[in-house]
């Protein structure tokens, strides 16, 4: 039995209008591939290059509530800002972030990461120094690797001490593309 797209859409919109959704998500098109984008009542909660994100849905359900529903409207603001970023018209994001359930060290590092300017790069070690833990470059690397909100929290701007790109959760190709877009490469 096929559900008409219209009936499906009406249900999703009604759910959002009635305030019954804990986390809304949708797929956003971008030059670095499709992005899974999720927004909770507290703000942007996740961006992922994995667009069949069962683990993400489970995780969001655990931390923000089980009413996780695909609903295009909830990510409209984030979608617009991402579009502008990829068109080269936006250098900073004005989105509130939902960083709940993250350890304090992670939150501190992510806040510092958010201050790395568009078009510039920094190193794992420099970021570690800036949070007062100069020997914690490796731990900072782990935080980058587990970053739940890439692009907006610009872990692509963090590179190795020798200038190597080192690694990226979404693959080095994407890291290169983002840094090229920003004119950093």
């Amino acid at each position: 039995m096929t559900l008409s797209p219209d009936v499906d859409r009406r249900f999703r919109e009604a759910a959002v209008t009635l305030g019954l959704v804990d986390v809304g998500f949708d797929i956003v098109e971008s030059p670095v591939g499709e992005l899974f984008v999720a927004v909770s009542d507290r703000g942007l909660a996740a961006i992922s290059y994995d667009t069949v994100p069962d683990e993400q849905l489970e995780r969001l359900g655990r931390i923000a509530g089980p009413c996780v529903l695909r609903s295009p409207r909830t990510v409209d603001v984030a979608r617009r800002e991402l579009d502008e970023y990829f068109e080269g018209k936006r250098r900073a994001f004005d989105l509130t972030l939902d960083l709940r359930a993250l350890p304090p060290f992670t939150v501190t590092v992510l806040h510092e990461l958010a201050r790395v300017p568009y078009g510039e790069t920094t190193t794992y070690g420099a970021l570690a120094s800036r949070v007062g833990r100069p020997r914690a470059a490796r731990a900072v690397g782990t935080v980058m690797n587990r970053n739940r909100i890439p692009i907006v929290l610009p872990c692509h701007r963090v590179v190795g001490a020798g200038g190597d790109l080192v690694g990226y959760g979404g693959g080095l190709e994407r890291k290169t593309a983002l840094l090229t877009l920003e004119g950093a490469l």
């Binding site: 039995m1 096929t2 849905l57 359900g61 009413c67 996780v68 529903l69």
Partner: protein, 153 residues
Amino acid sequence: MPSVAIPPFERFYEQHRSEVLRLLRRQLGAQRAEDAFQETFLRALQAYRRLEHGEHLRAWVLTIARNVAIDTRRRTRPGDELVETAAEDGTSAYAELAHLTDGLPAKERAAVVLRYGYDLSYDQIAIALGSSPGAARQAASTGVRRLRRRTLS
């Protein structure tokens, strides 16, 4: 015993929407089924945060759908009572209780089956029946008393 985790609503919705729509079309026709479909999943979504575990979600949502169908018929054709209340549900708990609870009034039957067949809370049953938890408890206990009288007589 660890209870089954509650899946993200999206997964629950994807898993059951076709069957819910099928049931509603059968009971209400294609046109009225569309509104009833939305109503069913909105009721489920409204109650979803209060679920205590993720077991028997299929039985739960089908019961919500059946009751939405009853309400729809009452609204559109007053006095028209739903005859078909049995679930098209192969699980044994339901099958056994469905047999035992044959002939109970629709709400009492649903309350008894969900409470004793599926071990759902009165909160969950209330949402399924579109009533209060108190009324759900009442329906289950009246149903059980009625069954007891029937067994004794």
